[in-house]
Subunit: 140 residues, 2 copies
Amino acid sequence: MSIGKLGNNDALAILREGTLGRLGCIAADWPYVVPVNYYFDGENIYTHTLPGKKLDALRANPRVCLQVDEIKDPYNWRSVIAYGRFEEISDEETEVNVLTKLHSRLPHMTPVESRLIKGMTRTIVFRIKVKEVTGMAEGW
Amino acid sequence: MSIGKLGNNDALAILREGTLGRLGCIAADWPYVVPVNYYFDGENIYTHTLPGKKLDALRANPRVCLQVDEIKDPYNWRSVIAYGRFEEISDEETEVNVLTKLHSRLPHMTPVESRLIKGMTRTIVFRIKVKEVTGMAEGW
């Protein structure tokens, strides 16, 4: 049972390399967790959402975490949590840049398509200004 | 963007079939998320933890959720959240039964080893009495 803390550089590297995380927030005094695609530029986590329970919760309580893990098996895993505050992005140029970067890491989508998606849907883009990152690992 | 709600039976089936989830709780007024191995018997989710931030948070605020997903790619996924209350299990027979069931779904461990682990470590076993399950899906 060799569970231990990850160093800050290892934790930041996992956050930077990941594309899929689980976003945790507080909705009406209950924890709420959903999977999200994201990218981390070293200071901020960028992601997007449709209107709904998650967005309502984040607007009401901006305290948010993103959990990202690499799990080989139950005895060999690494997991990090980044904490920060939800900040909605409302200028269209930044929105399209964020969606383009997000989609560039996903298959089957081009920057032009990102712009079309922004135009066609009610996608909301936001950042999490990261204030703390911690991590744990077992085995590995 | 065909995102929609999952029916209750589909959501329960995902919870029953899963072995790995992300546990969300509230720690000092911040969301906190960690990966856990679990099983669901139709009424309760069973899992375990070592002493630390997660256990302290759950004892202070028993409102907890477990998020479980099946993600083929960013456009084809299903995700469920089960909400309930943390209930610590303290009688040794139930503890060993839960650890044996948890480990029977993992590789490389026998019931005898589960009993040894309970004896050797400070593992705490707990259940989440599920009061609500919701789910969303895209594509699939």
